[in-house]
Symmetry: C2
Subunit: 216 residues, 2 copies
């Protein structure tokens, strides 16, 4: 059996919680960090376009600057790692071309053979009706990657705190994102829980399965 | 060791692909279906509000009606299962109250003790600036749940096809969602790949890690 057992998955889905207090002495090793980043890099996205960039903040000075922009949530400075999830605000021809070039390289085909695909993506996301709301489209895709990260971390027994409650404009300034085409969407603090994080003992609140699932 | 090994996770992240042709004779069993639904039910969401409903379509007649609304992608009728992900279009007081009641029940506290939390959520999502774009907020949360599902399925070696390219208004009509407060966002066909699905052999196209991750 190469797959992961149902009971292990279910246990780890329940193990995950939004960690509010991390142990600042416990650090994630490089191998684990790599898997977590891979879980986002390998995530699904619409057309496979990956309209995102993930910024891992190692510098304690930068993390200190982000703290007041994050409702002073201590994980911003105390968790082993902090990653800021940014999204590509607009789809444009250079970005689509870059994806076409990567596709051609990985699949060993000519870029010219992808012309129809490019035309269809351009007509939808760059020049079509969806271009008006493309920032929201990119945000949704980036949340797919965030979902991958949170589950992957739980399977690895790495604690995380997804943070939507932050000042994205303030983050953009600190991270000097102006002119890059990318904007701050959310962040994830991750590492290992403090022994006295009381939230680890509080029951997860979810609607009952019958309230969120309908069978037709 | 109770956690899942890095190499298993990495292998399964790479194992996943957007399956374009399913084996219609292979069905997902109830236990597996339950874990997949749990992966969405237990997903993180902003404030833990879970602004979603997941509709599993078992009825072949309904699936036939959804086919032309889904670019005629055969997995809509051929995959073992189809789940439609819908989001709550607006946050309103009854929805927040329902969440407060569930919180009180699960954590065995008085609803009255959650009054401050309720006021703060109402001020943000129902009456605050974010209420103007609350449909997008709910869509993002629902994509978190979708991300959970896709990774969970991959770990279970269950194939999936996430579908954003569908006619959400047509879906809403077929599923009679008008008046429910929920709207179609995306769907996932899932089951087991057909032996001759050529997409399983095509290399996954992703930007290099150095292109999507920055270390600061």
């Amino acid at each position: 059996m190469s797959k992961v057992a149902n009971e292990v998955i279910h246990r780890q889905l329940n193990w995950r919680y939004a960690c509010k207090k991390f142990d600042p002495t416990k650090k994630i090793n490089e191998a684990d960090l790599n898997i977590l980043l891979e879980s986002m890099r390998l995530s699904a996205s619409s057309y496979g376009l990956q309209p995102w960039k993930f910024i891992v903040i190692q510098n304690p000075e930068i993390r200190k600057k982000l703290l007041p922009l994050s409702w002073n949530q201590s994980p911003v400075v105390e968790a082993s790692h902090l990653v800021v999830l940014t999204y590509k605000e607009k789809m444009d021809e250079p970005f689509i071309d870059r994806h076409m070039q990567q596709t051609a390289k990985v699949r060993e085909v000519e870029v010219a053979s992808l012309a129809r695909l490019k035309t269809s993506i351009m007509g939808d996301l760059v020049n079509g009706a969806r271009s008006e709301v493309i920032n929201w489209w990119a945000q949704r895709q980036t949340y797919l990657a965030m979902g991958s990260f949170l589950i992957t971390a739980a399977l690895m027994e790495i604690d995380s705190l997804p943070m939507e409650g932050l000042d994205p404009i303030g983050y953009d300034e600190v991270l000097k994102l102006e002119g890059t085409g990318f904007k701050t969407l959310a962040a994830i603090a991750f590492g290992y829980r403090a022994a006295d994080d009381k939230y680890q003992h509080i029951k997860k609140v979810r609607f009952d399965l019958a309230d969120v699932v309908e069978i037709r």
